[in-house]
């Protein structure tokens, strides 16, 4: 019997230690595992490195985790949000460090980390300020930069359907970073609206095979960032 289900988000994130690196799925609010992030806020771990495309909106989810001064570094492609000043303030104050990575390089570095590829070359960012400090190399007359695979201690991701083996399906563009993050973390934690028995998902359609997933929690009615923000919620 293999059963990766846990009864609550709190139990799923209980062992995350201070200083951990955490990949958090989502592009804007699509795919953001808000309930897992809120459980992490409640749990208390600090000095975290967060790898995520954005830095959250309003004062909920990822933005709330930042606001609680729990994140000392973000690795991110787009840390600006119209309706949030949380990250800019922490960044200007010098509390939270930023490693800015082009979006496609971020995705590819995470994929490489999960695929046992320590480094690869990419044409992205050649000739720009983001090439600074990076090792250039020419292939077939074109310049490329060396980029390194990225791994993390944990990944927090959101699916729609998961089974007890950890197979996961996603909803539309909420898929975004989750499938690659699941491969690149030591412990991958999935929240899914429906958690079902192995065999109930067509094996041809599985996006994240269970080998990449360690813990599954059912969050039957996940909230959306935009709804919480519209309601003026500030977590906790």
């Amino acid at each position: 019997m293999i059963d990766k289900r846990l009864p609550s988000a709190a139990e799923a994130v209980a062992d995350i230690a201070d200083g951990s690196s955490i990949m958090i799925g989502g592009f804007g609010e699509a795919g953001s595992p808000i309930e897992l992030i809120h459980a992490l806020i409640d749990q208390g771990a600090s000095d975290l490195t967060v790898i995520s495309n954005n830095t959250g909106s309003g004062q909920v989810g990822l933005a709330a985790l930042l606001k609680e001064r729990r994140v000392t570094k973000v690795i991110c492609s787009f840390p600006k949000t119209l309706n949030s000043t949380v990250f800019p303030e922490l960044y200007r104050e010098g509390f939270t460090e930023l490693e800015l990575v082009p979006q496609g390089t971020l995705a590819e570095r995470i994929r490489a980390g999960g695929a046992g590829v320590p480094a690869f070359y990419t044409p992205t960012a050649v000739g720009t300020p983001l090439a600074e400090g990076k090792e250039p190399r020419e292939f077939n007359g074109r310049e490329y930069l060396l980029e390194y695979g990225l791994t993390a201690d944990y990944a927090l991701i959101k699916g729609t359907v998961a089974d007890a083996h950890g197979n996961v399906l996603y909803n539309k563009t909420a898929r975004n970073f989750a499938p690659v993050m699941a491969t690149a973390a030591e412990i991958t934690i999935v929240q899914a609206a429906r958690v079902i028995e192995p065999g109930d998902i067509d094996p041809e359609t599985i996006v994240t095979p269970g080998i990449f997933v360690d813990r599954v929690v059912q969050i039957a009615e996940p909230v959306h960032e935009s709804e919480l923000i519209a309601e003026g919620v500030s977590y906790p």
């Binding site: 699509a30 495309n53 787009f78 930023l98 082009p102 590819e108 050649v126 720009t128 960032e225």
Partner: protein, 220 residues
């Protein structure tokens, strides 16, 4: 350069419409956030373009009716969109493999500056207090087969955006193929900027006065 005559150039919609005419049928197109999104409204009759949004959708359709959006079906600008028949969802590594691997035919982007050698600056003012945020712009210009820029010819304060050399931090070096401004359609050629087409009622001299680098006339 700071001549104060009011020039009536193309509107944003007219720029989008003009640009759309140059996209062949069946093209795979990524439209940048903002003005470039207007292009989707002006698909010429008889043509179909397939829109890619880098957050993981090919076959993106128009915005849904107010209140009918799915918060998890959005575009790169984080606005609600729809999926057309024949659409496909995929993850970010696959999405940027499409971009970096040269599978998209066209990327339409906005610009802060474009140099006469095709350098593009469109992600940062480089000011010390700016929060740097790059998103997928550097990947798009490095990977997509053709890069069109759609932009007002000058900044709000009247400074030229087409320049000899960019002063803002670059998004990519030598990446822009063509510029659609409110005043003209301009190609980036090995010899520099070449005016391909003038907005009706706008003359070459006027465009040159508003451009920070020499312009070549259209090939005769």
């Amino acid at each position: 350069m700071s001549e104060s005559t009011q020039i009536k150039g193309w509107s944003r919609e007219e720029m989008a419409q003009r640009l759309a005419q140059d996209i062949p049928n069946g093209s795979y197109v990524n439209l940048g956030i903002g003005i470039p999104e207007l292009v989707a409204r002006f698909v010429p009759k008889g043509r179909t373009f397939i829109y890619h949004t880098e957050n993981g959708l090919l076959g993106m359709g128009p915005s849904p009716a107010e209140g009918e959006g799915d918060p998890e079906l959005i575009n790169a600008g984080k606005r609600h969109v729809t999926a057309n028949a024949g659409a496909a969802y995929f993850h970010h590594a696959d999405s940027f493999a499409m971009i970096r691997g040269g599978h998209l035919d066209l990327s339409v982007l906005g610009a802060m500056q474009i140099s006469q050698t095709g350098d593009l600056a469109n992600w940062s003012t480089g000011k010390p207090d700016a929060i740097p945020a790059v998103g997928g712009a550097m990947d798009l210009v490095a990977g997509v087969k053709q890069v069109f820029v759609m932009t007002q010819h000058c900044t709000k304060t009247g400074d030229p955006k087409l320049v000899e050399a960019c002063t803002y931090p670059l998004t990519g070096r030598g990446v822009v193929d063509r510029i659609y401004s409110d005043l003209a359609v301009i190609d980036v050629t090995p010899d520099g900027f070449r005016v391909t087409e003038l907005c009706p009622g706008v003359d070459f001299k006027t465009v040159q006065e508003r451009t920070g680098a020499p312009l070549l006339p259209a090939n005769e």
